[in-house]
């Protein structure tokens, strides 16, 4: 087994290669505005570091969000294209699950990432491997009662620490493809299901049907 994992759903652009028992190489760069530029060179670097070629990969693992759309799509279209050319499966994972896995907690907690506009993407976990709720997008202030005191990880929890009062500052803050790949390897070994490689936007596009056209004749 050789898994190439990538995730662009958070400010991190992260890529990892996993052989089924361990992570061979990983790249993590945090730059919310340059996902498009950074991803392919990172793939190239990770493969070179592990001394493998892309055509040896047996499966692609991709974080499907939720995340701000523009960056999220970079990872998804890259994964889908690799999958099509290499003719290998593309395994989707909720991006929050990767962060939860990296947190390694063995007690109930929440993962929250920054959804901008004072909102967070978040979900509840029973432990590092078990998500309890569908990922949601909410105004941080609106969920204060629900999450107060609960252990919390992720950039969203760090950003709104007055809401996520149980925030674990030690992290993880952003996504790590190594964690995502390790989780995927475990799930594959256990024969568990993955998500389709389609984006979790959780929001409708900002678009308004225009009212009737504006009259231009001066009053």
């Amino acid at each position: 087994m050789l898994l190439l994992a990538l995730d662009t759903a958070t400010p991190a652009v992260t890529v990892a290669l996993h052989d089924g028992s361990r992570v061979l190489a990983e790249s993590r760069e945090v730059d919310a505005r340059r996902h498009g530029e950074l991803l392919l060179p990172a793939v190239d670097r990770v493969l070179a570091e592990a001394g493998r070629k892309l055509d040896a990969v047996t499966g692609i693992v991709v974080g499907v969000g939720p995340g701000p759309y523009t960056g999220l799509r970079v990872g998804l279209v890259t994964a889908a294209t690799f999958g099509a050319v290499l003719d290998v499966p593309v395994h989707g994972l909720c991006s929050l699950d990767g962060i939860a896995y990296a947190a390694g907690l063995d007690e109930p907690f929440v993962v929250a990432t920054d959804a901008r506009r004072k909102e967070v993407y978040w979900a509840r976990y029973a432990n590092a491997r078990t998500r309890l709720t569908e990922p949601a997008v909410d105004r941080a202030a609106d969920i204060a009662d629900e999450v107060a005191g609960t252990p919390a990880v992720g950039a969203g929890a760090l950003l709104y620490d007055s809401v996520f009062t149980g925030v674990r500052r030690a992290g993880p803050e952003h996504q790590s493809a190594a964690a995502l790949a390790s989780l995927a390897a475990e799930k594959l070994a256990a024969g568990e299901e993955f998500l389709p490689d389609r984006p979790l936007y959780l929001r409708r596009p900002d678009a308004q049907v225009p009212a009737n056209y504006k009259v231009v004749t001066p009053k």
Binding site: G36, E37, L38, L39, L40, P41, V43, D44, L54, D55, Y69, T70, R73, V74, L76, V77, T78, A80, T81, F82, A84, V85, L86, P199, Y201, P205, D206, A207, Q208, V209, P210, Y213, V215, V216, T217
Partner: protein, 376 residues
Amino acid sequence: MADSRGGPLVLGIETSCDETGVGIVQGHTLLADAVASSVDEHARFGGVVPEVASRAHLEAMVPTIRRALKEAGVAASDLDGIAVTAGPGLAGALLVGVSAAKAYAYALGKPLYGVNHLASHICVDQLEHGALPEPTMALLVSGGHSSLLLAPDITSDVRPLGSTIDDAAGEAFDKIARVLQLGFPGGPVIDRYAREGNPDAIRFPRGLTGPRDPVYDFSFSGLKTAVARWIEAKRAAGEDIPVADVSASFQEAVVDVLTRKAVRACKDNGVDHLMIGGGVAANSRLRAMAERRCEDAGITLRVPRPKLCTDNGAMVAALGAEMVARNRPASDWDLSADSSLPVTETHVPGEGGQGGSGHHHGHDHVHEVSKENLYS
């Protein structure tokens, strides 16, 4: 690289606006032109909604690549290169195509060519009429652009002579169609009504045609307002709107200015032929008037078939093939999607071959295409 058909075999990806286009060409020969459009999803918004377009590109990308390969009957491993629109266009939409093209080129081990959308609109004519004369004079008119370009070398030297200072020509069609309540997009429906109408019924203004106005620039905003006011006055007086006559007279004003300036540009620059591209090139009156005026001026007119005039992947492939044929450097793996890529940058060459370090642009102007939305 060349087989019996001759020329480099290149796949081109175009996602600068609402069409997901994947084309395959071999030199000047069109092998496939697969397009998935999200235009229906935008219709109720009266214009292209960037986020809706980007989502549709992601959905359509891989299936459209597959469709193009099947249509062309070629194996991906036989390609000589992958070309992609690097800009100008909607930032989020471009990014889907650029990311896909990089992954595709990387996985196949082929060179990547990030190319300019406007130069591609010109180069597509090679698929219809063979090698472009050098220099080529081009009039590009669509919902996103209205430009007069002089191209001594389509792969490395494209010079902007003029462009619109406000609305693009196609945008004016969309807006007038809205005033007339004819739906979106406006170009085809206005063209249809205009055929039944009298182009001389109403004398609408011709923008930027005064003696002191810029010779090659366009303006359609004043025209749009004049037409809207004329219609509103009729409505206020309780009269019926003569839709056919308004359509014909409005269209006549647009087409008159476009062709007049294009012919003038040819004469001034000693160019004996003109190519017209972009979605508005499908307009029947533009084609007819351009034919007549070019003939009168001894200019050869080249207009590709309508499907090649609108945004498509074949045009990107056509320019990519020319890049390969002329040994232009490939792009790096960190190629950016650049919503305001100037037309003078016909392609985005890498700095030290693929895998090299960053490539950054210093320009900061905003291109007409990169406006967030096509309605105001």
